[in-house]
């Protein structure tokens, strides 16, 4: 393995030549996103994070290059990529920042995907090209103040009235909530104890009765908007309903899509931390030698490289399974759980290797470390994925 180049461009981490397992297009797509992140996101992300600001100015460029909903068909203005290429986009975006990857995940997997999977043809024709270009920004309202790991218990309601639907409820921890122009809101059309009555609705956020406010005081994902949504007598036309959505299974299908992207994204964050730690270790001199020449830092770097390499091979196979329509939600759980935990550990060790410099926003590892605590917790906590796997293994549900 060559030592890090003198310049600051990110050249990836590929100890097992996993690049050989990618097609030419997959590599070209990965390289486009990588270059875009180096040129557009890296120069500003530290400041965005400190200021607690999502870099809105990048949305148009991401849309133009085709980063949103890239695995959906070209007929709807999307890039029509396979799932490995889609995963590589998430990996490279999260190499920059988990918040920016979260934006793209929500837009693609949680807003465009449900419209694609559960929407009527007119809904797809109208919304998907606008969301792909970034002209419209979406958010996904499932989680509620009292229903996180247990979304089936949600109490937001949709009632028939006025020749359409009337929605009432509160959603929490909603990425992109305050800047979204459209929300996918999950509500019960039947009794609140009946998860089979959960349906999805397309809610333009300028509909009277819809309000969103940012959740303040976040110490993680600071370059991402996280909001609370209030729906008070929100009147919607009859065609706001996603006609093919049906029960709790529908939003969970969306989450499987998003978690798949997160499994890839976490590798990007881990690679960023490893890359930063390696560059620092070979340049930082202490006791008259680079700290990279000490056993303790070599163990850190060896552990990081080992875990990143394992995650790369695991996740690539997950992607191939998805492209072959063989993927199970439990396989996604395993990858999300493993990779995010792995990335969180890498970020923590990289920050420690960086010594005092590691607490500065000028370096990236502590930002990734703080971000990954959210990623560890959202889209199914690490613990919930343990239980999902436990249920799959034993046939006995512990939740």
């Amino acid at each position: 393995m060559s030592s890090p180049a003198a310049n600051s461009r990110f050249t990836g981490v590929d100890f097992y030549e996993a690049d050989r397992l990618l097609s030419e297009e997959e590599r070209a797509i990965r390289d486009t996103v990588r270059t875009w992140v180096d040129d557009n996101l890296m120069p500003i992300i530290g400041d965005c994070y400190v200021e607690g600001r999502f870099p809105k100015e990048l949305i148009g460029g991401m849309g133009e290059l085709g980063f949103f909903g890239a695995n959906l068909p070209e007929a709807y203005g999307c890039a029509g990529l396979n799932n490995v290429a889609y995963g590589l986009i998430m990996q490279e975006l999260e190499r920059g920042d988990s918040g920016v990857r979260s934006f793209a995940s929500v837009q693609g997997a949680l807003v465009m995907y449900p419209i694609f999977a559960f929407g009527a043809e007119e809904q797809k024709q109208y919304w998907l090209p606008r969301l792909a270009s970034g002209e419209e920004i979406g958010c996904f309202g499932l989680t509620e103040p009292d229903f996180g790991s247990n979304p089936a218990g949600l109490v937001t309601t949709a009632r028939k009235g006025d020749g359409g639907w009337v929605l009432n409820g509160t959603k929490m921890w909603i990425t992109n909530g305050s800047q979204a122009t459209v929300a996918i809101v999950w509500a019960k059309v039947g009794e609140v104890d009946d998860p089979a009555s959960i349906r999805g609705f397309i809610v333009p956020t300028n509909t009277p009765g819809f309000t969103a406010k940012d959740q303040k005081g976040k110490l993680s994902l600071r370059a991402s908007d996280t909001s609370e949504l209030h729906l008070q007598d929100v009147h919607l036309p009859v065609d706001a309903l996603l006609p093919e959505s049906s029960g709790i299974k529908s939003p969970l299908m969306c989450l499987t899509q998003a978690r798949y992207g997160i499994a890839w994204g976490a590798i990007g964050a881990a690679m960023a931390c490893y890359d930063e730690a390696l560059r620092y270790a070979v340049n930082r001199v202490m006791f008259d030698r680079p700290i990279g020449q000490t056993q303790i830092q070599q163990v850190r770097l060896a552990d990081m490289l080992t875990e990143i390499t394992k995650a790369q091979l695991l996740t690539l196979q997950l992607g191939r399974l998805k492209d072959d329509h063989l993927l199970t939600p439990q396989q996604v759980s395993l990858a999300k759980r493993n990779n995010v935990n792995m990335a969180t550990e890498c970020a923590r060790e990289a920050r420690r290797l960086l010594g005092a410099n590691g607490i500065l926003a000028e370096y990236h590892s502590m930002r990734h470390m703080a971000n990954l605590e959210s990623v560890y917790t959202y889209e199914g906590t690490h613990d919930m994925h343990s239980l999902i796997l436990g249920e799959k293994i034993t046939g006995l549900s512990a939740f």
Binding site: T11, E24, A28, I29, G66, L81, I89
Partner: protein
């Protein structure tokens, strides 16, 4: 307007170069190859001119090994219409390369032929002018600003301490310098569309070389830095060394 772009596959400028056992070439093992960065200005210029005109054709021609197909497709992904690979086992010297490229370009009826002012691997700066000579076309090298009005080309070249403005007629060969434009990133749809665009592969054989590379050596390692002191007290010594040793002031 019909525009050709000559494109060379070169090692990434960030790659750590290792000299091969033959002593006259670099070892490609583990090296990432990219489109020659100066040729990317030519690609961008061709695409932008065709887009602005709303008509015409852009063709990328690359002399190289089979692996250069990937490099050609990266140009197609950016928006070039079709590609031609002049397939050869190894890169010949600039004179032989120019002869092969000129043979291909002569039959294409091109109004404008664009390429980088040099390839970053061998820094010869020769192929553009030699192609122009062989085709009997005007050649303006190292162009940083380009205007085309009907059949007239007006180009600006950044020369030492000044800008030179040059005019010639079409058809012409223009070699591109930094500053001409900002090459676009290929959009993801462009990458997917590239594999469906035509790519002709034409095996070629190089003629006689005009010269022979005798040896290739890496520059010596930079000597380590020297700390002459710390804080304001170090300034007089630093100034003295800059004056007497480095002769920088």
């Amino acid at each position: 307007m019909k525009i050709a772009v000559c494109l060379k596959r070169v090692p990434d400028t960030t790659a750590k170069v290792v000299i091969a056992d033959d002593g006259v070439s670099i070892d490609p093992t583990g090296v990432k190859f990219v489109p020659n960065p100066y040729d990317e200005y030519a690609i961008e210029e061709a695409i932008a001119r065709k887009t602005a005109a709303g008509e015409g054709e852009t063709v990328v021609v690359s002399l190289g090994t089979d692996a250069a197909q990937e490099t050609i497709r990266s140009a197609l992904a950016m928006g070039i219409d079709r590609g031609v690979l002049l397939q050869i086992a190894e890169h010949p010297d600039p004179a032989a390369a120019a002869a092969l490229l000129a043979d291909e370009l002569a039959t294409g009826g091109y109004d404008l032929i664009l390429m980088g002012k040099m390839a970053v691997d061998d820094s010869q700066h020769q192929v553009g002018p030699q192609v122009a000579e062989r085709l009997g076309m005007a050649c303006i090298t190292a162009v940083a600003h380009l205007k085309i009005d009907g059949g007239t080309v007006t180009a600006e070249r950044e020369i030492e301490g000044a800008v030179e403005v040059v005019r010639c007629g079409l058809p012409a060969v223009i070699t591109c310098d930094k500053g001409l434009n900002t090459p676009r990133l290929p959009a993801l749809k462009g990458i997917m569309a590239a594999k469906k665009k035509p790519l002709d592969i034409k095996p070629v054989t190089a003629g006689e070389s005009a010269f022979e590379v005798l040896s290739l050596t890496l520059p010596p390692d930079r000597p380590p830095g020297r700390i002459v002191g710390e804080g304001p007290d170090a300034v007089p010594e630093l100034v003295r060394l800059l004056r007497t040793e480095a002769k920088a002031i």
